[in-house]
Symmetry: C2
Subunit: 341 residues, 2 copies
DNA sequence: TTGAAAGCGCTAACAG
DNA sequence: CTGTTAGCGCTTTCAA
């Protein structure tokens, strides 16, 4: 039987409310009683029951983050893990716990969130990489429940979110290739329903247009890339009459897939083909050759998401907190991108 | 103001306890009232307050999993993500939520767990890859709090755990290389304080001994492998007079590091060097060449861990639940392992 | 500065 | 089969 606030009160010869006040550092409590009560708490091994506290305070001091569906996001696993680290670190710092909600299927996903939200089990929700018409976003907006998006949702420009400026990131990456003298630059995208794919494509387009370079439809490939489809797409790309001398690739994992397809095409990186990708996951550095990649500060994104959401759910926060927040990126140049010959 | 059990009771013209009984499918409730109450709940948008339920039931229906410290486990990120998926999937299936606890430093780690455990915020804890003398294990054993280890702890053979038979897995992998005709087989290990490293080394030793092959000290490398130290270790290994023709590598990520160091040594895989690694992460298939790897069923490990822990915290579970559980592994042969010439 | 009392939303005897 | 009553452990008026 765990020791309760009553036990401490009895032992200390005060009332439960006094103990409670000591617990919450109430100002009008005599230093003497405070010290004494704290002593007894220590002795008896008292620990506040968080559930009871939640019940009366009507807040849980916990957030939930929705795990993306594996089918859709498997290649984002590394990304996600680092994001969680950031989320959890900031949350812990602010005294919040983080709950993981499963994302098996769309219906299960929303059911799980609904249970947590309706059951007042969490104070806020963190959502990732919103797709168009995300039902969870709809659900949360409807009941005006606090949430933050990692990524952006074109449908809901006013939603609280933290994001990379992906257009700009792709623009910068493309300009790196342009500065190296490349004029035939292709783009390998991810699942097109993700906003991030579209944004990076847009930045690519913009940089090329600005430099007066051609953007050819057949130089742009989109889709799932992990399996042999990646290899096939590459061979397609590389069999064109005029083939690109450099590629912008939407994610390091995808870049790894591209890299794998090259030996059978007798292509070397960077001699025959330069590569720049995004996210700068641990494997970008480890790949062979190491891949130039845009570091988007994933951990930082996680921290920012936590921070922003927590600020929003705190009662009397200064209303300063901006709804949209951009985390800066920077290009890490490695051996996969070289001068055009 | 959310609708409570009282509101429903009033509206349905019954007592709160009746509503509560309907909620928990109490057998002795008339079909008619049950239907009616459910109807009203639906209409009014009633959702049970999980905190209140927890307070009275003295159980939270949630588990917590302790995130490994980044320094120590960074190369296990992918592993960990898949494990979490398994954990969360099984937990959700059994009606449990999963909380992530940060593992920034040893003291923070134990403080965070203590807060959750003492505050009765969770019913059980999932721990990963226990190091020797894990303080969290100590803490939990002391207060007899339910937990499960993913991996094994030689100090505490009686602790509830799910694990791979790593000795056997390494034994199998080594025998694969032996069957391919290799006689000079090296071993590239991970951080030596992890039990998994020691176990895999042991299996390697056993297979070689059984086949009458030499185990040479200089063919065994241990340590952090992600950075250039990997490359250096490789060049060391490969500059020996008698160098191995095949390598057992403790993790796919580490294998990727090894792979990266080879071109400058003018070595090709598998022609000059065969490679077999462990864990079969997504990148094993994506590497160049694709890496033969022992699939240890990470997702399954996660599910098993959840399941085992949940069984343990359920009140009247049949005491059948074995304390130690082994999840089967299987070798996936890819192009990185070829015949010895 | 402290105590008494009421209540957060729910469950669980104990009656009826 | 259903209602009454008494808490779960904590916070918070309101009085003293």
């Amino acid at each position: 039987m765990p020791v309760t606030i009553k036990d401490v009160a009895r032992e200390a010869g005060v009332s439960p409310s006094t103990v409670s006040r000591v617990l919450s550092n109430h100002p009008r409590i005599s230093a003497a009683t405070a010290r004494k009560v704290r002593e007894i708490m220590q002795e008896m091994g008292y620990h506040p029951n968080l559930m009871a506290k939640s019940l009366v305070s009507r807040t849980t001091r916990s957030l939930c983050v929705v795990l993306p569906k594996p089918a859709e996001e498997l290649f984002l696993n590394l990304f996600f893990m680092e994001l969680i680290r950031g989320i959890v670190a900031q949350a812990a710092h602010d005294g919040y716990d983080v709950l993981i909600s499963p994302g098996a299927s769309a219906t299960e996903e929303i059911e799980a969130v609904a249970r947590l939200v309706n059951g007042r089990r969490v104070d806020g929700v963190i959502l990732l990489y919103s797709r168009r018409d995300d039902p969870v976003v709809e659900f949360l907006r409807e009941r005006d429940f606090p949430f933050v998006l990692v990524g952006r949702s074109p449908q809901y420009p006013d939603v609280r979110s933290v994001d990379t400026d992906n257009v700009r990131a792709a623009y910068d990456a493309a300009n790196h290739l342009i500065a190296l003298g490349h004029t035939r630059i292709g783009f390998v995208g991810g699942p097109p329903e993700l906003v991030v794919s579209a944004d990076r494509l847009e930045g690519y387009r913009r940089a090329l247009a600005e430099a007066g370079l051609p953007v050819r439809g057949e130089w742009i490939v989109e889709g799932e890339f992990l399996q042999d489809s990646g290899v096939r797409a590459m061979s397609l790309l590389m069999r064109l009459d005029e083939r690109p001398s450099a590629l912008l690739v939407v994610d390091d994992f995808v870049a790894l897939g591209v890299l794998r397809g090259l030996p059978e095409l007798n292509l070397r990186v960077p001699q025959d083909l330069s590569l720049v990708s995004f996210n700068n996951l641990a494997l970008a550095e480890l790949a062979n050759p190491p891949i130039s990649s845009v570091d988007i500060g994933i951990y930082e994104l996680g921290r920012a998401a936590s921070g922003s959401l927590i600020a929003a759910v705190q009662p009397a926060a200064d209303e300063q907190a901006p709804k949209r927040q951009i985390v800066p990126h920077r290009l890490i140049v490695r051996q996969s991108s070289g001068r055009a010959d």
